[in-house]
Amino acid sequence: MEYSMIPEIGHFALILALGVSIIQGVLPLIGAQQGRREWLVLARPATQISFVLLAISFAILAWCFYVNDFSVLYVAEHSNSQLPTVYRLGAVWGGHEGSLLLWIFLLTGWAFAVAQLSKTLDEFMVARVLGVLGLVATGLLLFVLATSNPFERLLPAAQDGRSLNPLLQDPGLVFHPPMLYMGYVGFSVAFAFAIASLLSGKLDAAWARWSRPWTTTAWIFLTLGIALGSWWAYYELGWGGWWFWDPVENASFMPWLIGTALLHSLAVTEKRGGFKNWTVLLAIIAFSMSLLGTFLVRSGVLTSVHAFATDPRRGIFILILLSLVVGSSLFLYALRAPKSTLGGAFSLMSRETLILLGNVFLVVAAGSVLLGTLYPLLIDALNLGKISVGPPYFNAVFVPIMVPVLFLLAIGPWANWKSTNLNALLKRLWLAAVVAVVAAILIPRMMGEFTILTALGFLLSFWIIASGVLQIIRQFKVGKPTRSFIGMQLGHIGIAVFVIGVTMVGAYQEEKDVRMAPGDTVSVGGYQIRLVEVRPAQGPNYQATRGTFELGRHGKTEEVLYPEKRNYDSSTMPMTEAAIDAGLTRDIYVSLGEPLEGNAWAVRVYYKPFVDWIWGGCLLMALGGLFAVMDKRYRLRLKK
């Protein structure tokens, strides 16, 4: 049997990329410190070459999946010849090695984008930013080559692969990890800008203006990635929930919280030259959180949906990498940060103060999530026993911390920089307050039960929406609003839409596990669901048992739902495929449990009011970010 040499080319490209990254990470940084131009100018070409090498390597791994090259261990473990082509490509990042390769590929992609779009930026700054990114890439490439080589051969080759976990055979998998990683990795750019500014001692408004669109772009991807993951868990895992405070969800949520704080802090640094130290620190923390997330997910220290069976060396390697990055950047911060000043003075009632308060709450929230996530690990490491910290902890801590953030969020955009008049503020906001109070009283009464928590949810979300709408109206009277302004309003209204969804689902959802035989009817949320029949069905690479349910209201059938229980040919694990009738004001969710005696089935039926608003809100936030990035002031600079 002959084996193709192509995987070796992929491996070789990775080794070359390591060499190039070392050059990219070392020479430009030294060149910038010592003023050696000939070393400095290496940054761009080195970045471009390492991107091309990673692209080749990644394409080759994808090719191996495409042609079913089972002489590559990673392919044999995560794919088989029966797997549909689109999932074979998704499987490239369906396991540990491939997902790390994706991580590095995206990292070099971001670095490449910085290299291409920074023609007007100071040469020294570019060299330093690309140099820092090169160092990060070096660390990760070492990690992949030493412990997680995706091109490792399996000789003799396997007859067929072991297949991808059936859970992952879903369009969600094709998009969720790349989106999330784009966000995670994107914070490396903000981090690199922060480190570069510390190295140069130039922490000015221009630096913030450069760093801002990059940070916002990463934040958009992270927002979409988290939302996709949440949506995927909702319809694919068959649990019907949208957030579980799973440690891995937390791992992606912490960088998001810090990233959100960073976005706002950067605004102050850009507009007012303030909060410089704080902004730099946030940039360092945001990327550290991304690395920590990678460590938590990939090291296998956590019990989670995302944990792969692992090799302890990997965990230790990432831990060392993490401590190096965090340690050295905090050390640099301690050395350099005090030299920069606080920036323009501002009074207690000003936009700066409001943003600062919001920032503090966001960071505290991230800290509380971090504590809940790491606490079990800490207790275990100290040999004090094994514990788990469940969703009640996170709800009890996180929700109260977020209440003031949501309250301030509606006021912030009205306040002026430097100083603002409290009376003028109240005069503009009274109408929003009235709308919010009316909504908080009326909506719970319309939906059913009134509780303080639901009233609070509607109070805050309508407070934000009403304030946003009032401000948009005012802005249009004055003149055409900037894209930044539209972006901010969309982002804030997105949060409100999200809060409405969360409040509605939390308070008014109905979940029923029932026994149903053909002909039986169950009702939820004013709908009747009738089981018509359960019969076998055949899929491309699985056998299924398919239920037919009629969904109706007032005696009329509106929709027919087909939930399935699947058995994939290559796996012994059954898969529940829920059927969802989605709508603007509610989802109806039906899934098959197990067969019971007498031709009956255990059936799970959910009524989820306004659940799609949760992801709709995230989409609005991402759209807001997009508007902010497209603001003219960034584009003009790029054109010059």
Binding site: L371, P392, M573
Partner: protein, 143 residues
């Protein structure tokens, strides 16, 4: 207001926020931690009384019985066995002879009433807590 006062006020504000957060966190941690206990520890009466906790172990072969929506099974570390009851639909990966983690409380008869059953999302993956229980039992058994 003088800058010095302003800064002092801000520091006080930040500290107050942190203090409130700390109180919330400690309070929540105290009441929302579920301890992992092995079947042998439960049998030895070491399980927390009247509190929610988790048991990790294997689902005993042939122990799974259905009574309409209520399922009964035995979770074991191969030394001691604990009967478990659970009302609802089991996760896809729940199987006899495989690892599982259950969360709930002991009732007076020594039966564990589970409010949650966790099985992990890879057929070749053993929850570390289940593995831990088996290893502990083996170690103690060998002594």
């Amino acid at each position: 207001m003088k800058p010095r006062h302003k800064r002092a006020l801000m520091i006080v504000g930040a500290l107050a926020t942190l203090a409130i957060a700390a109180v919330l966190i400690l309070n929540a941690l105290n009441s929302n931690i579920a301890l992992y206990v092995t079947p042998s520890e439960v049998a030895a009466g070491k399980a927390p009384k009247g509190q929610t906790f988790r048991i990790g172990g294997m689902v005993k072969d042939g122990s799974l019985k259905r009574d309409e929506l209520v399922v009964h099974f035995i979770i074991t570390d191969l030394v001691k066995e604990i009967p478990v009851s659970y009302k609802g639909i089991l996760p896809d990966l729940f199987k006899e002879g495989k690892g599982a983690v259950v969360q709930g409380k002991l009732d007076p008869d020594g039966q564990f009433v589970a409010s949650e059953v966790l099985a992990k999302h890879d057929e070749n993956y053993m929850p570390p807590e289940a593995k831990h229980a088996l290893e502990q039992a083996q170690k103690n058994g060998a002594k």
